[in-house]
């Protein structure tokens, strides 16, 4: 049952990725500007242009180009970036860790913040405090990450300049890292000075990404908690003399968390999508920032590679959430 579900999902995932590859391939090839003409100096001869077009395979038909590219992708060859003249896969792997660290920190913050608000709200249901949490989460939810980023830049970059609002790490620091997972590596090397510097840079973009998701978690988890709190076994725990906070944390949370978990998975992909503009806003050197440059430079191989990696990330997260849901949900587990 579980295995079957997994295989079906895996197949759908591959179909989706194939669809993404086709869409992005077609979309960027109907673009009017000629990337080759942009690479060469103005006086280049027609011969030079033709040679370079052949070098990048742009002289073939779109269908031929697609299958040549797809064949390469299946062998791990995503082509060469036109603007940076480096291997696309290498460039993507160089930037991906920065984005993953940012997104993960943002996700953890969203869960911590959202769950706290939900528990406090459920604890004080029917009071003004709950109404306040509702209004705050409603407003937080309506304001997207881009605007939160700007608000944070104004508050903590200009008004009270306590956090860095540009870059991933202070440029004057000497970095001993061998991987691109700076935050993880600084912790493993016990270089907490570097961890602190990284966090100071990461905090503002992470909060901008976390706030809308935190609001969604707060609303949904509070709703599920309130439903669970009326069930018999919770009432029994209350009768046994547990305090309301104990009842929520020890009894209700476990059973109320499942719907929220599914939602968090889907919303996490939205959060990752949001890194594109938030990284730009904070000049954070991640994949999204590089993607915008790639589009502006009409760097076709690089755009394709980045979009495909984002898509892969999205479908993998969805797959993981689906499997986790199936494992945790007893009704599905026992088929």
């Amino acid at each position: 049952m579980l295995l079957q579900r997994f295989l079906v999902r895996l197949l759908t995932m591959l179909v989706t990725l194939f669809g993404v590859a086709i869409v992005v391939f077609v979309v960027i090839r109907v673009a009017p500007g000629d990337p080759i003409a942009m690479m060469l100096p103005p006086g280049a001869s027609d011969d030079d242009i033709a040679r370079l077009r052949a070098l990048y395979g742009l002289d073939k038909t779109i269908v031929q180009q697609f299958f040549i590219w797809l064949g390469g992708v299946l062998h791990g060859d995503f082509g060469t970036s036109i603007s940076l003249r480096q291997d696309v896969l290498g460039l993507v792997f160089n930037r991906l860790p920065a984005t993953l660290e940012l997104a993960t920190v943002a996700l953890l913050m969203a869960i911590a913040l959202g769950a706290t608000a939900a528990i406090v709200g459920a604890r004080s249901r029917g009071t003004a405090l709950e109404a306040g949490i509702d209004i705050a989460s409603g407003a937080t939810l309506s304001i997207p990450d881009f605007l939160w980023g700007l608000v944070l830049i104004l508050l903590f970059g200009v008004l009270v300049p306590v956090f860095d609002i540009s870059g991933r790490v202070s440029p004057e620091l000497d970095l001993p890292f061998v991987t691109q997972f700076y935050l993880v590596e600084s912790l493993l090397r016990l270089r907490f000075d570097l961890t602190w510097d990284l966090l100071k840079h990461m905090l503002m973009p992470a909060v901008a990404l976390a706030l809308p998701l935190a609001a969604i978690i707060a609303q949904l988890l509070k709703q599920s908690l309130k439903e669970v709190l009326d069930l018999d076994y919770v009432v029994l725990a209350r009768v046994k003399g547990f305090s309301e906070t104990q009842v929520i944390l020890r009894e209700a949370l476990k059973n109320a968390a499942l719907p929220t978990l599914t939602l968090v998975g889907v919303q996490f992909t939205f959060l990752i999508g949001g890194t594109v503009i938030v990284e730009r806003l904070f000049s954070y050197e991640g994949l999204g920032n590089m993607a915008i440059d790639a589009v502006i430079n009409r760097d076709l191989p690089l755009i394709q590679g980045i979009v495909l990696v984002f898509a892969l990330l999205f479908v993998l997260i969805n797959l993981a959430v689906d499997m986790m849901y199936a494992l945790l949900n007893p009704r599905l587990r026992h088929g």
């Binding site: 979309v27 409603g138 997207p144 104004l154 970059g157 589009v295 979009v307 984002f310």
Partner: protein
């Protein structure tokens, strides 16, 4: 649910505030040449980075101050509202028509139509939307119609998913069966019976989508990929403000407040409409 409960009254103070703000902003945008105190494009280096009216060094007639080229901020915001509202209405309506039509077909007819449309939605959901928008505008070329088209191409899935689910549950209801027994055709039932019942959801989503479209336009202008660089847009003013944030904070603060109020108002409207039309909540 909680939000819907709060705004169930329909004409709550929050809804009045939201409607009031949207009306003022819309009227100001429509009558921009009459309302704006200055020419939004006029540069005057003698007047660069004037502060807003309550600070020392402000000039009369430049209420919210000027940017680094001496252009009047209030006038630029008012004219920027024109682009914001045009994009909001045109892009949201286009996304709505496309998405609702496909969602209705997928949900009501099911079968192959549903399978194909759902696969396409899956593919669309696997794109980071902001990157998709930037990519599309780069491909279509900058300009108002490209921005509108790009938003419609990306956001139709929001309507499609919700309308598909609604149409599916409506299609199973007794009244649809009765209509079929009464001899109505499938398309006739879809348009005459199912469509009116999913319309409340469409209207509520439409209002939310207008707020989203305003943000996407601002993001596109922020990365310099929206309308021509001469015309003021809220996003391009924000981009300037981000650069001169330490010299002239007001160039960032005022467009930011404008955007936040507009987005909040559109979403309040959407929530209130949803609560008003939802038979369960009503």
């Amino acid at each position: 649910m909680d939000d819907a409960r709060i705004s169930r009254g329909g004409l709550s103070p929050r809804l009045w505030l939201a409607g009031g703000w949207l009306l003022i902003a819309l009227l100001a945008a429509i009558f921009a040449p009459l309302v704006a105190p200055q020419d939004p494009l006029a540069q005057d280096l003698m007047l660069e980075r004037l502060p807003p009216f309550w600070l020392d060094g402000a000039e009369p007639g430049y209420w919210l101050g000027t940017d680094s080229l001496g252009r009047d901020l209030l006038s630029r915001l008012i004219f920027g509202g024109r682009i914001a509202f045009i994009v909001a209405f045109a892009a949201a309506t286009s996304a709505c028509l496309l998405g609702s039509a496909l969602g209705l077909i997928a949900g009501y007819f099911g079968g192959w139509a549903d399978r194909i449309i759902s696969r396409v939605v899956d593919v669309w959901m696997a794109f980071p939307p902001v990157l998709f928008a930037i990519l599309l505008v780069a491909v279509l070329g900058t300009g108002l119609s490209s921005v509108i088209l790009a938003i419609a191409i990306i956001d139709w899935t929001r309507f499609c998913r919700v309308i598909r689910a609604e149409a599916m549950s409506q299609a199973r209801m007794d009244y649809v069966e009765s209509a079929r027994i009464a001899g109505y055709g499938r398309i006739g039932i879809m348009l005459r019976e199912v469509l009116p019942n999913v319309l409340p959801s469409v209207v509520a989503l439409l209002s939310l989508e207008m707020g989203i479209a305003v943000i996407v336009e601002a993001i596109l202008s922020f990365v310099n990929l929206s309308i021509s660089t001469d015309d003021p847009t809220w996003g391009s003013i924000i981009a300037e403000g981000r650069l001169s944030i330490h010299q002239a904070w007001w160039v960032l603060v005022f467009p930011l407040i404008t955007l936040i109020l507009t987005v909040l108002s559109f979403s309040q409207f959407g929530e209130a409409l949803k609560a008003r039309f939802d038979p369960v909540l009503r």
